[in-house]
Amino acid sequence: MLDSKIPAGPLENKWNDYKGHVKLVNPANKRKLEVIVIGTGLAGASAAASLGELGYRVKAFCFQDSPRRAHSIAAQGGINAAKNYQNDGDSVFRLFYDTIKGGDYRSREANTHRLAEVSANIIDQCVAQGVPFAREYSGLLNNRSFGGVQVKRTFYAAGQTGQQLLIGAYQALERQVALGNVTMYARHEMLDVVVIDGKARGVICRNLVTGELERHFGHAVLLCSGGYGNVFYLSTNAMGSNVTAAWKAHKKGAFFANPCFTQIHPTCIPVTGDHQSKLTLMSESLRNDGRIWVPKKQNDTRKANDIPEEERDYYLERRYPAYGNLVPRDVASRAAKERCDAGYGVGTTKQAVYLDFRYNLINKYGRAEASKHGIENPDEATLVRLGKEVVKEEYGNLFDMYEKITGENPYEVPMRIYPAVHYTMGGLWVDYELMTSITGLYALGEANFSDHGANRLGASALMQGLADGYFVIPYTIGNYLANEISVKPIPTTHEAFEVAENAVKDRISSLMQIKGKQSVESFHKRLGKIMWEKCGMSRNEKGLNEAIEEIRALKKEFWSNVRIPGEINEMNPELDKANRVADFIELGELICIDALERTESCGGHFREESQTEEGEALRHDDQFLYVAAWEYNGEHNWKLNKEELEFELAKPTQRNYK
């Protein structure tokens, strides 16, 4: 049933061989083929631009007011590439291996290897587009380190790398709009996919300005709609980030893979109260220079700067001396939770740890600058002053953002941080060509499941989004569309469009007719609370069973008591939100079912029943070396399909960052 279509041959030759033999579509035929792209983040914008350049007729959709606002823009730290500019031992193999290991051996080797192979092209492409990466005085590109890795392979633009990469892709996209190859539909949300004779042939969208439903035909449909972290309500995702496009596809037959693999990022600004609408990330790159610690004494109420060095517990450096503060995200998050649960947390809520820059500010940057300026025996104040200037250049925008949110100056006092939902490794199941289990329907970027296994390494999301859009889909889509060249555009008066639009219309009117008492927001908050408490950083059988029951009850209540003000045929943000939250509730149930079924710990999925004596995640490769691809069979009813994972080069071992 699940054919991953991995090409034959040795791992390192697969992609080249594939490219050499894949079917091509000639330029004249490309102009007759229409492709729909949902979402304009790194994956969507790069795909839409590249396919437009090739000559396909592309229609791109985003719910924001401009494609430039997709949430890829908020990615901070950087993008990985196996360039080995630093001469520190990096290679395609190492990037591949680090990614597989970081993902705790739950990703597909062939896809991950391809990702590592094209990583270097991405940097070249972005530089050619004018992405202003950080540079050395020599004029050459600079690198920094990220977690789970012992080389420096991360390219960056201060703490705004996602912004710069997205603007590059957005500009390429707008160029294609100007040339007439791409038609852009902003403030549009996809509410269903149209399937005709087993093939994806279009979408139903809602124009968010007028409220009207629209039908759009495409020979193929690409979902580049991002992740589903907002199922937890509080996350680092944008307020509008949602699962709706992927979920509609799932209900039409696309399998949803490994939904329980959600990434809790270790360094976010802690929650302050019930009013909180979202959480803000402090880039992982800060762990290059920030040291994480808590007081050695429980319930210590002293201010951070009053706690002497010998009374601080640098618990990551203590537990994981080889990687120290740069352990992967799942490991760092659990370690923070462990300290806080044991009573060593800091701040008013005690749900926080310190991220302290003072040591490196003085010893790394301060001393280097002093030496450059020929200052001998500098005092501490001088070192602080000199170090600050460098830190400002590296992370200035992050420090400013921290200060705006918390009112505290991180140059003076350590940041308080705590883990928060950030990224979802799970997503629509795709084969090697990025096609879902619906023919002609593709999923790119965070919306698919394939490259990061159970835990994504830092600076790899940008890499994957752009790899899929710039360098993978332009080849793989041809293999499908080459057989579609004789298919004339299907008029949107076709019965399948009619049926799909009516279903969407009915659902919207039933939502509006409920006229209950509770706001959409209140349901979303309650869903988030269930998910965070029972399917968050640590999970167990009892909690997951409870969560499933609670979510089912919440769904009933939502559909009988939600209140949506306003009208259907107008701009109505509450209705937009209701459509999204209704889907999140259904997804929440599936996430818990998947987490319940996987009775091992791996990556971001920590089952309390499965841990080593030291409290590390304990995998069960004998039972769970597979992708869990869930097939929708009606309400509360899913069938599990398994794609067995085979490891040819990166043999699974217990991850060790000690």
């Binding site: 007011d65 908020a74 953002m401 706001s519 943000p573």
Partner: protein, 254 residues
Amino acid sequence: MDHYTMNLTLKVWKQKNQSERGHFETYQVKDISSEMSFLEMFDVLNEALVEENREPIAFDHDCREGICGMCSMYINGRPHGPWHGTTTCQLHMRAFKDGDTIVVEPWRANAFPVIKDLIVDRHAFDRIIQAGGYISVNTGNAVDGNAIPVKKENADSAFAAAACIGCGACVAACKNSSAMLFVSAKVAHLSLLPQGEPEKRNRVLNMIEQMDKEGFGSCTMTEACEAVCPKEISVDNIARLNGEYLSAAGAIDK
């Protein structure tokens, strides 16, 4: 940091759609924490309005991290409110005190028509980018990223200009609703880099032509745009644009 709560009076622009006339409506909000963001205060207000079966206030927002450029409130006569270098979503309630009255309007500019309440249509910015705000390179085998060294100071200046989030605060602040800061930031970003050099002349001419076509006003260098820009984009970019425009226009006349 000491936290406190406050009661506030809000005067907010309400407008059903592009064609109907808008008006100010007054709301009272209570027990607002100084730790909230400005938009979280609006969330609280909207929750209360839904509860009372009244229509919530529509406003643009998405990332709430000051980077997507979607939020766009004109607060007490200033785009994005009182804090320097800060978007609306990053403005926090400790900027206000108990008993304050806050006036909130949408961006006001002919080129940014109001869609609903505080939401405006900024599509004109996308069309300006379409006119030339890019480097014409197709996806493919670009040369090695280190093949063309870029002076660090040029890369840094290009980055500073490219940090523009396209929110439109510069237009909202300008008495002429000029989009010069936005356009100049893009022109500078690309022309400071060797990759952007070949298209330099046409880029500046075409982008300015599109800017005029969209109905943005002229620049008289009051520098109000720089003062309110949440990303602190410098008006030096405008000077650079003017220089490039003159030399490009002169070259074409010959």
